[in-house]
């Protein structure tokens, strides 16, 4: 079995956003050269998430509004202080909590060198504390 990790970056446009990375994942799987196995798509941050949904603008808006309702911007969060290890204020508790709800990865089968993905499934990197240059990976495992 082979294990290929492909690293990617994306500049996110704003505070919160759904960034469509589906075509990048397809390209990564092709680049891996693996014919049959699994492809893990994972973010390397704690204030972003990876999710899958139908690629429609109205649904994208609904998803962002849902997580903003579930985790309000203003509440007495404890993660609201100076963080010595960063040298900056850690005042983004809602971003972390929204990320925890959405999750950090998705997994797809790979068959005959291609991602097995539904026709309406779109893969998103979800920005929850942007704009930032973000890092994510595709880990392809198989033969």
């Amino acid at each position: 079995m082979r294990s290929i990790v492909l690293r990617r970056t994306v500049q996110t446009p704003g505070d919160t956003a759904l960034v469509n990375i589906t075509s990048d994942v397809h390209r990564a799987v092709a680049e891996s050269g693996i014919a049959n196995g699994l492809a893990l798509v994972m973010t390397l941050h704690t204030t972003t998430a990876i999710t899958v949904n139908e690629g429609l603008e109205d649904l994208e808006d609904d998803i962002l509004e849902l997580i903003q309702r579930l985790v309000p911007a203003n509440a007495p969060y404890r993660h609201a202080r100076f963080l010595d290890s960063d040298g900056q204020m850690a005042v983004n508790a809602p971003s972390h909590l929204r990320g925890a709800l959405l999750g950090m990865e998705v997994l797809f089968p790979v068959e005959d060198g291609k991602l097995v993905i539904g026709g309406r499934q779109t893969i998103y990197l979800v920005e929850l504390d942007g704009p930032l240059l973000r890092n994510w990976v595709v880990h392809v495992l198989g033969d």
Partner: protein
Amino acid sequence: MTRIDFHIHPVQVQELHDSDASLDRAVRGPFGLQMPPQPLATLLLHLDAGAIDKAVMLPLDCTTAHGTTIVSNEQVAWLAEQSDRLIPFASVDPMVPNAPKALEHAVRSYGARGLKLDPALQQFAVDDHDHAYPIYQTCVELGIPILIHCGMSWAPTGMASLAHPLLLERVIHDFPSLPFVIAHMGWPWVRESAMLAIKHRHICLDTSVLFSGTPTDSVRTAIEEIGGIDTLDRSLSKQIVFGSNYPRVDPKRAVWAIEALDLRSRLADRIFFGNASRLLGLDKELPCDR
């Protein structure tokens, strides 16, 4: 609404790190920021996220105290060349003999529109007649304001005792036409800072109050300490400017802190734009004129 962020440290800009190998040590060491660099384009997107049109870029010359600059005048000038949204300030080390000349050079050659001083990090006495006063006199002659750090310093070796706003009182008397902007509202000495501003028309405050909680919490607490929004509106409306202190905090969150105050539109306009515009010479009014 047009917005100006009066307080940004461009210490995270990837392009500066790419061309200056010593910057990483200066930023992680004396400045104490451990986050990785981000492209200049990301900084501009940060401004967009707060609907901020322009931002003042602050270099810092710590040659005597730390043997380094934490972004130089030349680097800030380069940034200003990349985007007309970025307004360059200068920094000089008052303890260096040619500091007044260096300041004049930064203003005349690089277009610096003001001076940044940080007595906590640069470790000089603000009332030092031999070293600081010539800098102030040069600012008067050049017609530029000074943004001066006051209060707690998040820099690991920053000495707040050198940055008490009351240390400025004699200086303020001796330079009655020189605009000073007291950064961070001087926290924890917010009342002392406000006292100086209420009494002296050439003294301003910036809103980059960061001590605990969110910026919204911190700014509200600081303003309550000086008598609430009424005090701002009645006595300081032309002497307070918006500042984020990026990258200690994101500009968008600093904007949210001011928006959460639900200010009257005239006061909000002055904080976000009008007062900074006057200080920077972007209009024809005198700085901090009532």
